[in-house]
């Protein structure tokens, strides 16, 4: 039983390590695309911690990503550049100069705090209302960051941000959030939240404080999203508020749904498959050689193919590629199925 449970963690970690290892063997733009896939997967796993366990759709998690990205970016952009191009920043932000790791910690802390503050009123809501409320959060956050030049670049691009999200950091970042997500979902609190997901009335009558459990998951998830925002900023080397907005919101949600919304394994598989396919098609639009064959797709093919594949998965496998289940223990006897998430 312990081995089977451990496999639910080891499986995703092995997959991520394999992707990281293979990516480290590539070069040029393909190498960058691999790192990008790992960072996007970090966002999806963060999203899963709340959405997967609570069953409440959140359109607002990219708010924590953008906060983390801008915080990490402002904290690490060279002071002389900030003084010239971001001179409207609060003085303490102009002076703030952190190392790479410190900036990631800051991003995670701010993401968690922001999620907690937002979650206090919103986590009382359920279903569609909660989804719309979280959508309002991303709209408000985007407008604040776009217009308030005292806390960020406003409409400008923030940068140059030190590009420190290499393979090691991207892989460790993703493994870290997977471990935290797994550790959380094994706790009693996460079980209570999943019970509330399945039957709120029954859970409540059993003494589960749904609001408290949702708030806890939302905060943890927000911290992880903040961390992933920091990794994203250090991957791209520049950030604009538009980069971390609705497109990222919908594509990460789509990745989670395609993988299987109810399981950590589904989040990892969905993110790596869709982000990987997206990256591959982007390369193919600029011509790419695969085992001696040149693949050269017309511009725009990527979005069409991605849309078709995502629609096909949802049509033919509505519960996602993994069926919303954790990775099965490969040595179990026939007929036994590991419990779902």
């Amino acid at each position: 039983m312990a081995a089977r449970r451990a496999w639910e963690l080891i499986g995703p970690v092995l997959l991520v390590a394999a992707v990281g290892f293979v990516g480290s063997l590539t070069s040029g733009s393909m190498e960058f695309q691999f790192r990008s896939v790992l960072v996007i997967a970090t966002i999806v796993v963060a999203l899963h911690v709340f959405v997967g366990n609570s069953g409440v759709i959140s359109f607002g998690h990219v708010s924590f990503v953008v906060l983390g990205a801008i915080a990490a970016g402002v904290a690490t952009t060279p002071a002389e550049i900030k003084a010239r191009s971001l001179s409207e920043l609060f003085p303490f932000l102009l002076d703030l100069q952190l190392s790479n790791i410190e900036s990631l910690v800051l991003a995670a802390v701010l993401g968690g705090v922001f999620a907690f503050l937002v979650g206090v009123p919103i986590m009382r809501l359920s279903g569609l209302q909660a989804g719309i409320a979280t959508f309002a959060v991303i709209i408000i956050t985007n407008n604040v960051f776009r217009n308030w030049d005292r806390i960020g670049p406003a409409a400008r691009a923030l940068g140059p941000i030190p590009e420190t999200t290499g393979f090691l950091q991207a892989t460790i970042g993703l493994v870290l959030v997977i471990v935290v997500a797994y550790g959380y979902q094994r706790t009693r609190m996460a079980r209570m939240l999943r019970a509330a997901r399945e039957d709120p009335a029954a859970a409540q009558s059993s003494g589960v404080n749904i609001y408290r459990q949702r708030l806890l998951a939302f905060t943890l998830s927000g911290a992880m999203a903040g961390l992933s925002g920091g990794l994203l900023a250090h991957l791209l080397g520049s950030v604009t508020t538009e980069v971390v907005f609705l497109d990222l919101t919908f594509i990460t949600l789509a990745m989670l749904v395609v993988g299987g919304i109810g399981s950590l394994w589904g989040a990892v598989v969905g993110a790596l498959s869709i982000a990987g396919l997206n990256a591959f098609l982007a390369e193919a639009e600029r011509e790419v050689g695969v085992f001696g064959f040149d693949i050269d797709l017309p511009s725009g093919t990527r979005l069409v193919v991605l849309g078709i594949i995502m629609a096909a998965v949802l049509l033919f496998r509505p519960s996602g590629l993994t069926g919303g289940r954790e990775l099965s223990w490969p040595f179990a006897r026939r007929g036994r199925v590991a419990p779902g998430g």
Partner: protein, 426 residues
């Protein structure tokens, strides 16, 4: 067991494919794929053009690759596509005249970078890996930033055909940004020339409409407001919105309700026609002045004649530009691919010409040396006009703008106008 490992097997296969994709960074430059446009004269030792010396064969005929990581399929395509086509023509002209450095041809290698930052960055990496020694980037700084950073990290000169802000260069990018330039006109210069034009028409009061989507849009109207008031006018109201935010309708209503002699705007994409034609639909015929962002007629609405509309641009696209060289170049551009959507092409042509001159003057493609040469441009005469750059201004300023007047949806050249100075908005 096999079934249970199906996902691992699938992803292992995908990983292997991806690894195979990344193995070869070298690209066959002779076989230009459809997504890649390569323009270069064949490497030859025959000197063409003005030189008649055929005895001194050049020792090096390898092409100098100018990579173009530009958006050719998304929002910036109306600006980048004509700029890139003009750059291709200029490359051919230079190569027909013998190339640079005694016979080395230029090669423009173009990849569609879109405006998505990860794709922009990956495209720049691809081009640099393919041997690009100079990188041309998309006509908006925010969209181009990831590519600019790659060029700076690779220490190669990076040039935008038509970025219209002062973000290129050391003032915004630090000392490392000294190798970044734009051949667009500074927003401060555009705003100033529009304001001076407006005051010369006798317009006393203005409403400015600021689109916060792009810093370029903001800078133009800020510059207009500063210069308009410096010239004795009054800005009676400033209306703001953010492109695509769905509030343009209320902006139209608010502007229509103001008493004003002129409206100044810099905008684009879907909000521009929504504003202009929305205002006219309310019966407000107040003159509107707009920056180069309003160039071209592709955004006009059919069946709704546009009048009392003025904008500044780099060159006229409508057969009446006062510079014959411009008209000739435009005719060639049109013959080879249809009429350009905007005058952005001027920047593409001039950027390539400036790059070629910098290569000749410095004897190679050393980024720092070329940057120092470009910073020395003081009314430098390029094919279609004078260009000024200096150590603090890596985006062109002080160039004569074409003021265009739109009557019944037909733009026509009205006058040449140079700003007395760029407006100070920082």
């Amino acid at each position: 067991m096999i079934r249970r490992f199906r996902f691992l097997a699938l992803f292992a296969a995908l990983a292997l494919i991806a690894a195979a994709c990344g193995g070869d960074d070298s690209s066959d430059t002779t076989a230009a794929p459809s997504a890649t446009t390569t323009t270069a004269a064949p490497a030859t030792t025959t000197t063409a053009g003005g030189s008649t010396d055929t005895t001194a064969a050049p020792t090096d005929t390898t092409p100098i690759i100018i990579g173009a990581a530009v958006d050719l399929s998304q929002n910036m395509a109306p600006f980048n596509t004509p700029a890139n086509r003009a750059a291709e023509i200029m490359v051919e002209r230079i190569n027909d005249a013998g190339g640079v450095l005694g016979g080395r041809p230029l090669e423009l290698r173009t990849l569609d970078a879109t405006v998505e930052p990860d794709v922009v960055k990956a495209t720049a990496i691809d081009l640099i890996d393919q041997g690009a020694e100079i990188l041309m980037v998309t006509c908006d700084f925010d969209f181009a930033f990831p590519a600019i950073q790659e060029a700076i990290q690779a220490n190669i000169l990076t040039v935008a055909p038509c970025i219209g802000t002062d973000a290129m260069g050391p003032n915004n990018l630090g000392e490392e940004g000294r190798i970044a330039f734009s051949f667009g006109d500074q927003a401060q210069d555009e705003g100033a020339v529009l304001a001076e034009f407006a005051r010369d028409q006798g317009w006393e009061t203005a409403v400015v409409v600021k689109n916060n989507l792009l810093i370029y849009f903001q800078d133009v109207v800020d510059a207009f407001a500063v210069r308009f008031e410096e010239a004795g006018g009054t800005v009676v109201a400033t209306e703001e919105f953010t492109g695509f935010d769905g509030t343009i309708g209320s902006v139209v209503t608010a502007v229509a309700n103001e008493e004003k002699d002129v409206i100044a705007i810099s905008s684009g994409f879907d909000d521009l026609p929504a504003f202009v034609f929305g205002l006219r639909a309310l019966g407000d015929d107040t003159p509107i002045v707009c920056s180069w962002a309003c160039d071209g007629t592709f955004w006009y609405q059919e069946g709704e004649p546009l009048n009392e509309f003025y904008y500044n641009t780099k060159v006229s696209l409508f057969g009446d530009d006062p510079n014959q060289d411009v008209q000739d170049f435009l005719a060639e551009l049109t013959a080879r691919g249809g009429p350009p959507a905007t005058a952005a092409w001027l920047g593409g042509a001039q950027a390539v010409q400036a790059i070629a001159e910098a290569i000749e003057a410095t004897g190679g493609t050393d980024a720092a040396a070329m940057a120092a040469y470009l910073e020395g441009f003081d009314n430098k005469s390029l094919i279609m006009g004078e260009v000024t750059l200096n150590a603090d201004n890596h985006t062109v300023f002080g160039r004569p703008h074409r003021i265009m007047q739109v009557t019944d949806s037909m733009p026509a050249f009205l006058e040449l106008r140079t700003a007395t100075s760029p407006a100070d908005i920082r």
